[in-house]
Symmetry: D2
Subunit: 261 residues, 4 copies
């Protein structure tokens, strides 16, 4: 029995959701939820609003998708993609606020928060700058240390591990990487189709080999815990569907990171 | 012993705090906290911001003041004093969001939320309109039914009691009342001094007699649980100091509503 | 020559545009601009942002479409569709602000503002409530009285005429009307298709007969100056295309209201 | 006569005003306006709101104070003091928007805009970074090139001059300077008193000598056109009063920059 468990390969598929705001609709969460196992929900700072947060949690619950917090900079106009030069204390306070806001909806729906994953420019900076990564981890520790941290390798993941948080390393189904695992996304990625079969094969190779080929041709070791898919690209659903099918066929069990033993 | 307990008279003194925003300072919370036993903290919709929320909770903790949520309409420009015609569902979602945001800071500080008290126009409407009062109570029930409801007599207090929530009836040290206990506050109350001695005597009379004289001369029964003082009037500290001293002299023990047996 | 002019029938076709915000896209302005002669541009209060405003004006210029101000309540979260209970002075100040903001972009592009048309709930209230209509007209008078007022019959149109402003009465290609010409729009109109041929025939009949049949079956006289089309319904482009073609065939010259002699 | 004119020494005294927002009051504009000749008015992005803008212009008009635009980053929470990493195009659009908004109130009051002076972090960056300075100047050129540019020596002043704008160099009555004329303001300057007599003497010396002593002891040439005073420090009024009196006694005529021949 234990042997079987050991040989069992698990993988999580996550996506950013709940990014609509008021009448503005972004992404196709209804469809996307059918294919993913974890989702990161915007909390009203860079996207999302209280009604969208509630509805997104209801949707995740219906599809048995684990939920996480997707905090961003306080800049709806810039969708959290441009830096707002906040202090470490402000960073911590803004994250605490956003975690709390989402947690209230989660608890009202009888769900638990599985993880925190920073959004956009904050995602970059949490990995690239020590004070940002530390402030983010501290906010998690002070609000709910049972939450895992989702992100790319960098300061936040290092500090999170050091402080005892579970960390899920992610790889993007339609992203390229620099040797330091900084993700590279073309500015018009939302308009471009990704070849579903190629994306699926690439992800499978990365998981099986435990390494990813960076844009400079070099190979970087990575033990992937969760595959990030986008929900707002032209053929997003085809891509996630192909990725999921390919991983399943290869013997991976697709399940939320937090539900993995 | 039990006899003594029975005869013991308790009263809570509450104030709205944490209404600063960014560089904008409102009220004198540092001083006010020395005299009150409960405070209602703004949550970023009509006033307050994440940093102010954290600092206000730290201040309350230092002074052993019980904390509550002070949700308002999403209208910083109008300070929550003008109606935004939101639906019952939106009302519930906005309150849930604000409760959660404050709760995260409370838990990070090792404090519990004692109560919820709506702010400004929302305070009026929660009493005056059934759907508003009901939505507010539902948000409390779904997030943390151990919180009490602070407010004036009306739909929200009735529904709160019906649903099993503890309810604290409040009376304002510098407010006049209509026969339906709707508070009457002159639009320039922030600029006017209140006679501290008169306010103190009036509050004592209301508590002892269990009734308040309305602006039409009639008397309305009220079992006061908490006295509201303002922190942003010219002589606010003198007023709360006089009220507190007068109540103490008359044998009332000043303690937070939630700490009363 | 003069006889020909007299017999010439003119009609304006207008639409609300520039309602995108940051990454959020609303409507299909690029396509819509090909069919309309006037557009009302959101100014950042209920929708729109500085970049969207500039781009929308550039687009209108390219298609020779006259531009107008589309002021709304300061409520991005509610898209200006719910009342914010502001005073008459606030109404005037908020409109003045929005007119000025758009005017700067218009002047930078070498264009003039043709009109002001209130948005959403503000559109309703400007017609239904005297202080709202008056405040709106006063803002126009104090900023640029050469601008026309676009709206439905009510206080704002009456006061605008009384004060010497030009007024354009509009009728919606996909709207029903009450006998007081209050527009009736189903809450899910954005998801419903409108039969293009029926809409085109109906509009032609209203223009030719100078009256519209209200939802109670009664007929209401109306001298239509501009036809409102929506840009965000499923088959919006088909509808405006059919309306435009039908009116052209019937001998109407489609031109901006402000360019009519 | 011409000789007298030539010998006449003029100086402008300016302050940032209109920084209140909703119920939040900042500064003491009513008093300050009695001593200054130019003011820069916030436009709702980092501070200020439509009602505050209107009232501030009315106040300036009453005291015959020339008015200018004080654009800032879209960050009310940070009061425009922290960088928001916007593009050059966004910078230009945000400034255009703010100029237009204020211009509408100015025109409604029969006043003209004298100048543009960037606020806070934007003030620093307009001098320190070429794209920021250029975008700002372009916005002025496209909206109203009769406006002067107020700022510290740097990219914006250089580009402004190159493009034919009038430029007013300013020096702060309570600020220290680095050798590159970057202003140095202690983070708690709002709580500190400035010695009025010392400030007045220092400013007079700077004007008379045409140079300022930087914090490293070196002297930097500067031809001062306008003296900046703060309105929100503890003894702000005493300082500006002393500065004004000292300059007047020394033979300077205190008048708005734009009214200087």
């Amino acid at each position: 029995m234990e042997e079987i468990m050991k040989n069992k390969k698990y993988i999580d598929i996550n996506a950013d959701v709940g990014e609509s705001f008021g009448v503005y609709k972004l992404g196709n969460d209804e469809e996307l939820m059918k294919y993913i196992t974890s989702c990161s929900i915007a909390c009203g700072f860079h996207a999302g609003d209280p009604c969208v947060m509630r509805k997104t949690i209801e949707l995740a619950k219906k599809h048995n998708v684990a939920i996480g917090v997707h905090p961003g900079f306080p800049d709806l106009l810039g969708f959290g993609r441009r830096r707002v030069e906040i202090t470490a204390q402000e960073t911590k306070d803004y994250v605490t606020y956003q975690i709390g806001a989402l947690k209230a909806f989660a608890e009202a729906s009888g769900m638990k928060l599985q993880h925190v994953k920073p959004h956009g420019k904050f995602w970059h900076l949490a990995a690239a700058e020590e004070p940002v990564g530390r402030a983010l981890v501290e906010a998690i520790l002070e609000t709910d240390p049972k939450m895992a941290f989702f992100g790319r390798r960098g300061y936040a993941t290092d500090i999170a591990r050091e402080k005892g948080l579970r960390v899920a390393m992610e790889i993007g189904a339609d992203m390229q990487y620099r040797p330091d695992l900084e993700g590279v996304l073309s500015s018009d990625y939302k308009k471009k189709e990704t070849n579903p079969r190629e994306a699926a094969e690439r992800i499978l190779r990365i998981l099986d080999e435990g390494r990813v080929q960076a844009i400079d041709g070099s190979y970087v070791d990575i033990k992937v815990d969760t595959v990030l898919v986008h929900g707002d690209t032209p053929n997003a659903i085809e891509v996630v569907s192909a990725v999921r099918e390919s991983l399943t066929k290869a013997g991976y069990e697709i399940r939320a990171f937090g539900r993995t033993a």
